[in-house]
């Protein structure tokens, strides 16, 4: 690389690397924490970020503590399963609802089209937490608080997925194609079913990915709907319980427990709770690169 390094260029590269370090060093230290021992952390051994303190035996001990939590133990595994059920179920529902809706809004004319599109856009950009207490009241009214299915159902309402599908059909399915299919005698639903769905692999992956990530990391909805039933909690609110049972922050509660949850155990539990996200990211990666739509899911 023989280019001249002007002062401005040097300043740009140095400041970008500096910001990168601010982001990466804490994460590296936190991941390392999941592999460290309580004694090592207490003594501050292991050198830079405690990297010298890393050992597989620490992970085995920490896992026994994390998964030993609960009246009979195994609660953490149970939470992970629950998260898979609601996040996966919600993502499937989101895909099933978003694709036909996005297609209809992009390629069919009907009177309420603008209204549906407007509602979708507005609900998409609003933070979803504002609806949590009304949703709790609704679920409470039908007596289903503490059960998993209402959470999955509510997570299936994913306007961002509808918007993604809408854009997808606007850009990939020409009007002429729809017209031609109609002339061939296909009904509206058949056009979607036989032609629309054929060109939908990209958007299925995108909607499923964004919905799964949003559902997996959702905290407030499961907190309001599932807190009352310890067996049915998700891992996001379960982690909160682990923090609350740590001798670091709540010695009195922790004293009554068989397991000891110090920072390495909390970091390991968090690290494990992130692995499904890593897996879906790797699976969806080559589809994500094509559309830079990541940020719009925030909020």
């Amino acid at each position: 690389m023989i280019e001249n390094w002007s002062a401005g260029r040097l300043a740009r590269v140095v400041s970008m690397l500096f910001v990168a370090a601010i982001f990466l060093v804490p994460i590296a230290g936190f991941v390392a924490m999941a592999f460290r021992s309580n004694d090592g952390v207490e003594a501050g051994s292991g050198g830079f970020l405690g990297l010298g303190d890393i050992a597989w035996s620490n992970v085995r001990y920490s896992w026994s503590q994390v998964n030993g939590f609960g009246p009979e133990g195994g609660l953490f595994t149970r939470w992970l399963t629950n998260s898979l059920i609601v996040a996966g179920g919600g993502a499937i529902l989101a895909v099933v609802a978003a694709l036909p809706a996005g297609y209809a809004m992009a390629r069919l004319r009907f009177r309420a089209r603008r209204a549906v599109l407007l509602i979708t856009l507005v609900t998409m950009v609003m933070p979803n937490t504002v609806l949590v207490i009304p949703l709790f009241l609704e679920v409470n009214a039908v007596g289903a608080v503490g059960q998993l299915w209402p959470v999955a159902l509510i997570m299936g309402f994913f306007p961002f997925g509808v918007y993604l599908s809408y854009i997808h059909y606007l850009t990939t399915m020409p009007k002429e194609l729809v017209e031609a299919a109609r002339l061939d005698g296909l009904g509206e639903v058949s056009v979607f079913w036989w032609i629309g769905l054929r060109i939908s692999k990209q958007v299925v992956v995108l909607v499923a990915f964004f919905a799964f990530v949003a559902n997996w990391t959702n905290f407030f909805l499961p907190l309001a709907l599932l807190s009352s039933n310890q067996q049915n909690q998700t891992v996001s609110i379960g982690l909160q319980q682990l923090i609350g049972a740590s001798p670091l922050f709540n010695p009195t509660v922790a004293a009554g427990l068989d397991v000891k949850l110090y920072m390495p155990q909390l970091a390991l539990a968090t690290f494990i709770s992130m692995l499904p996200l890593l897996a879906v990211f790797l699976g969806a990666q080559r589809f994500l690169i094509r559309g830079e739509t990541v940020g719009a899911v925030k909020g």
Binding site: G8, M16, F23, V25, I27, G29, F30, M33, G44, L49, L93, A97, P100, A101, A104, L108, R109, R113, I119, L121, T123, V125, M126, V130, L131, I133, P134, L135, L137, E138, A141, L153, F157, L170, T171, R182, G187, E188, V189, F192, T217, F219, S236, L239, Q240, I243, G244, L248, L266, A267, T270, F281, R290, E292, T293, V294, A296, V297, K298, G299
Partner: protein, 319 residues
């Protein structure tokens, strides 16, 4: 590379314009509603019914031990909320956080996106990926990471904490006036990366001819960024600012859990969402909880409508 938002901008919200006979229009309408029906059901269950039910609940009177009956209560619950001693404080807290967080966030997003855009090739895209990584640690995971950073006992920035006289996590978060700064750091770390990707997508959509013209006029990198790129990506900046503004009003997890790790040294209801949660789950005053969420709903709905109609990203002819 274009973003979905850009596609929307260029295609707008136009209705397909070919004219078709009336009979096939009605079959088109039928088909549309058939295709929309799963989404319509979820929209009802997950959006419209709960809002309607919250309006109904907010207009009821809460049962008390002396008078366990419920029934129409008019605006009593709104009065309960407005006159609650914590109500004004919670909004002041959110504003105090927004005043610090929003400018830092916007400067970070725009500055880093411009830096990445000025760095073509592998270095730029590698940095964009690195900045995005913390965004993957959403919600509770980001929180546990910050407990690790904030707790001087084992923090990698332990030296820094001791230098400013902080020995416990309680001191780190509960010192007077400290919380907005702690929240700013947490939310910046978690949120900046995905917004950099969005704004960077806007920058990538600028046609090369514009840069060539600017280069012919003798613009240097600074002038290019300030006079050419910034004005063009204004819609994305406005979009990011409004989305983050709305995000401020939903703050819940961070203050709620920081209180838990700081031996309850923080106010229990520090944000409006926490107050609504307390109405529902501590006082079991569902009408007041519903009223509180409706107030927040109106605020964020207003911001949401501004985004859709005024950011310029979702089709101008609707404004």
């Amino acid at each position: 590379m274009t973003t979905a938002l850009m596609d929307e901008r260029s295609t707008g919200l136009q209705v397909p314009s070919t004219r078709r006979p009336k009979a096939s229009r009605s079959s088109e309408t039928r088909g549309a509603w058939l295709l929309l029906s799963p989404y319509a059901v979820l929209l009802l269950v997950g959006g419209i019914v709960p809002v309607g039910y919250a309006v109904k609940t907010a207009l009821e009177k809460p049962p008390t031990p002396l008078d366990p009956s419920t029934g129409f209560g008019g605006v009593t619950s709104f009065k309960t909320v407005f006159t609650d001693y914590r109500f004004v404080d919670t909004f002041q807290n959110v504003l105090a956080t927004l005043v610090i967080w929003l400018p830092i966030m916007m400067i970070g997003i725009v500055g880093l996106a411009l830096l990445i855009h000025a760095s073509p090739g592998r270095f730029g895209s590698a940095m964009r990926f690195v900045y995005y990584i913390p965004g993957a640690l959403a919600g509770i995971a980001n929180f546990v990471l910050w407990v690790y950073l904030l707790n001087p006992g084992q923090s990698p920035i332990e030296g820094l904490w001791h230098a400013i006289g902080v020995d416990t996590i309680k001191q780190a978060v509960a010192a007077p006036g400290q919380l907005p700064f702690v929240l700013t750091a947490m939310m910046f770390f978690q949120g900046v990366g995905s917004w950099i990707v969005v704004v960077n997508g806007g920058l990538n959509g600028i046609p090369d001819e514009i840069f060539e013209a600017a280069a012919l006029d003798g613009a240097n990198a600074w002038q290019l960024a300030w006079h050419v790129k910034l004005p063009i990506i204004r819609p994305w900046i406005g979009y990011a600012a409004l989305m983050n503004l709305a995000y401020g009003f939903q703050l819940f997890l961070e203050p709620q859990l920081l209180d838990q790790v700081a031996s309850n040294a923080l106010p229990d209801q520090w944000t409006p969402t926490q107050l609504g949660y307390a109405f529902a789950f501590s006082n079991y005053n569902f009408p007041a909880a519903a009223a509180m969420s409706l107030i927040l709903l109106v605020i964020t709905l207003g911001i949401g409508l501004l985004i859709v109609f005024r950011s310029g990203l979702f089709g101008e002819e609707d404004s």
